[in-house]
Amino acid sequence: MASKKSDIDGDDTLFGSLDKATVVQEARAFNESPINPKKCRLILTKIVYLLHQGQTYQTQEATDTFFSISKLFQNSDVSLRQMVYLAIKELSGSAESVFFLTASLTKDMNSRSDLIYRPNAIRALCKITDASTMQSNERFIKQSIVDKKPDVSSAAIISAIHLSSLNREVVKRWANEAQEAINSKGVITQYHALGLLYLMRQHDRMAVIKMVQNYARGSLRSPHAIVMLIRYTWKIIEEDDSGSSRQLFEYLENWLRHKSDMVVYEAARAICSLKDVTPKELFPAVSALQLMIVSHKPTLRFAAIRTLNKLAMTHPNAVFPCNLDMENLITDSNRSIATFAITTLLKTGNEASVDRLMKQISSFMSEISDEFKIIVVDAVRALCLKFPSKQTLMLNFLSGALRDDGGYQFKSAIVEAIFDIIHSIPESKEFALSHLCEFIEDCEFPKLAVRILHVLGAEGPHASSPTKYIRFIYNRVILETSIVRAAAVSALAQFAVYLVDARERIKVLLDRCTDDSDDEVRDRAAMYLRILNEQDLATKYIADDSTFALAALENNLDHYLKTPASFSRPFDIKNVPVVSKEQEQADRQRAQAAARDRAATGQAAPAASAAAAAVPASVSEAAAAAASPFDAQSIYAKAMERVPQIAALGPLYKSSSPVELTDPVTEYIVTCIKHVFPQHFVFQFECKNTLNDSLLENVTVVMKMQPSDDPDAAGLKPEFVVRAEKLAFDIPASVYVVYRRLGGVTPTAEFTNTLQFIVKDCDPNTGEPDEEGFEEDYLVEDVEIVVGDYIQPTYVPDFERAWAELGDTHQVVETYALTAVTSIRSAVSTVMDLLGMQALDNSSAVKENATTHQLHLAGTYVGGIPVAVRARMAFNPSTGVAMEMAVRSRHPVVSQRVANAIQ
């Protein structure tokens, strides 16, 4: 018996040698009469099996199979029918005319209530429903949602959740049914029904709050449903900055006393990951977790310790009381639990306990998976930054780990950690570099070797005995693959620039590299040899700490490659903003830290977040989350690429930051973003309709230019408008108003703006819009074009030099009395807002109460014209700020414009 069973389980005995052609042949049995249910069931199983193995059916094949299967409806064998449904679900994606089964399915859905395959029928119906048949199937699904049998009801609710991506409005009408289903006696049905109800309301904060309040009072019996409710509650509290939803916190606290472990854990986890949770609020949650880590159930211990581990990153003191219990977990036979325990202790423990803990970790590093090793590495990195005096111990541990077996992710985490330590603890540098040198001697990951060589090149020349690194680097040139050799050549060049004594020797090494078999290596060597002979070139290309804003560079290159018409001219690098390497790195680090934070607190319910992802987010929101203004701009640029008329305007030069043109609580929210293109000025009005009972169609914005004393303003000619076809509730859409800048003028101007649209009322129950709508105007606030809209901030490594190079031929000096500003600090921020330029020499930082200040700014005017500004300011409490602003560029008009920017 036992051996027979294993035969069936084994793939290669029963189904292993299946091939599609044979199965298609066998499927002819479906057309036989009478039908042999057992035989057909087996064939269906084979079909499903093949599909699951990744076999694909061509549309015709799938459709033919589909029709043969439909004939099986004449047999009422229950298990055959269930298998028929499974097969239909699988084939529904590739076959045509699948809707053809609708009548048969709905018939089964309505059949005798004790039939086991009713849920199967519902799930299959959901699969074959498309937008056009959704309305006609609505009745069947609604009716099944409130079916007395929990499995039927659950199947219908799940189907509704799937269907909502097809038509949210139709599904929203099933709220009453969903509410009724929550009272189902089926525990899982309750859970599903709550999920559906949330899906309908998730964009309406007040409705979600009401839902939480309604169900938090104990009417839910299903712990799964309560877990979902906790996640919704968490999300509301988390996303509310006003603090008004804090009252919901009480519910979370009450759930900590629930009788189900699942609920208690989820509540504790929710509290621990609230963003501004207080120690007092944390206390009961941590106590609950503390009880769990001494539980006899490994899953509970694991869950609890993992949450404490996360919490310890942000609130080590709150976790401190658990230290004693966590110590006991170090010897837990489950190594994952032990890892979390130790790494948590590393965060909460004091300096004295570190040595002992590190020893304990080392003892079982080899027993845990890479994933957990990375957790350990991250903990060690954090610890080292916290207790810099322990860096030797930590670096020894990390380099030991480098020598151990492990995959790329793990090794990369270690290298990353060492880089971080080098960056934050300068004293550690030499020791860390020597470990890295040792590692690249025997490193199986070229990618890591390249990164390490880069760091060696950047840091090595400034170490106390730099020459010792040269040997390690040159060894790479001899032994490695071409990308590593190329990186080694670049690193050598760094040493040659900074170490005058060693330069000639290094040149000899580089000279040998010009015989390399790889052309990249040869090219680099040749280039560096040439550069090294000229001090000026060397400073410009090697000792330069500026770099291009990478997102903008990528975008411009992408645009260039997509417009073959532009190939006759070389790519214009002048339009790419320049930043300091430090700034670029800081931006990346900020983005990475934010990503880590999100991962640490990321707790959005799976269903909720999946559904939320389906709703298009607004572009400006996405851009706001970007790492730097340049990343934000590339997000706008990508959105505009999709509008053909705008994509034709050429590469985007500059996007301003978004300006709100309405109150955040009005019926329509409008945000304006200004974009400068080579010959055009584009206003993007991002609009959002906050009324769930109306639909706006044919949305446009009428802009009127105000009379201006800027003569160039006449050169702004309205060219075209890209309307938003419709503005449904809560789904943002953009209107673009495009002006041509005749002759490339760059005027300042002011506009009044009116939103125009056709508004249609929507039936509050069905969401269906009325046939007839009426036109409406909606006045929003004015927009202004300022000089800064035309200027990209640019980093220059040496302001004085750039200033001198521009010379005073076209210098314009203006003096201003800024009577309205009350401090130097606000004067600086006003000027920077208006000019949109890069502050240099740290001159944007102003001491509190400073009375004099000098501000250095650099930028690139549209068309690639470098501009520099030197502003001297003096503050007098009675007269405000007096400012003398000198502007230099190679263009008199540009200098004048920038100098006049302040009004």
Binding site: N31, S33, P34, F67, S70, K71, F73, Q74, S76, S97, F99, F100, L101, T102, A103, S104, T106, K107, T133, S136
Partner: protein
């Protein structure tokens, strides 16, 4: 194979319960589904089963809406007989019915299978309806030479006339056992 022949022999002698697949077609709203208490237009098809005498019938009730008519042909190969329902009161669309019938009879699969066709001139209760003879003229039934056919008037709401039609089919099947 042997077994199959054996059972059909027995069946021919009327000793064994027989089964028969009928395919029920016709324009939408002609009344195909009414006979078994369906009230909404059929989307696709639905399968009905019942017994009459010693025969257990499986009826594939097809949808008659324009976009689905193309799908009837998938069921020709297993049918032992076809029921073609006509709304006798729908004078405007009798030509459409004629076209669909012609298309169906031209089908390669069906052309090779001389299975009987029963025409039901439904809704005979309605005043301005066509008589079976008028129907048969309008559809050009006299040109069907390759198979047995018959037409009878009926009222699907009451079941009147259906019995006679079925009797005819059973008779036909007895003469030519299902293939």
């Amino acid at each position: 194979m042997m077994r199959g022949m054996w059972s059909s022999l027995l069946a021919a002698l009327g000793l064994l319960r027989r089964r028969a697949n009928l395919l029920c077609v016709g324009l939408d709203n002609s009344g195909k589904s009414t006979a078994h208490e369906e009230v909404v237009p059929t989307v696709g098809f639905s399968v009905e089963m019942f017994e009459r005498g010693k025969v257990s019938f499986t009826i594939f009730d097809m949808s008659g809406q324009g976009k689905y008519r193309d799908l009837w042909r998938h069921y020709f190969s297993e049918a032992d007989g076809i029921i073609f329902v006509i709304d006798s009161a729908d004078r405007d669309r009798i030509v459409v019915a004629r076209e669909e019938l012609a298309l169906m009879l031209e089908n390669k699969v069906l052309a090779k299978r001389p299975i009987p066709v029963l025409f039901l001139a439904n809704k005979m209760d309605l005043e301005n309806g066509l008589s079976p003879v008028e129907c048969s003229e309008a559809l050009g039934l006299d040109r069907i030479r390759d198979r047995a056919w018959n037409i009878s008037a009926c009222n699907a709401l009451t079941g009147e006339g259906l019995e006679a039609g079925l009797e005819w089919i059973i008779d036909m099947l007895r003469q030519a056992p299902p293939q």
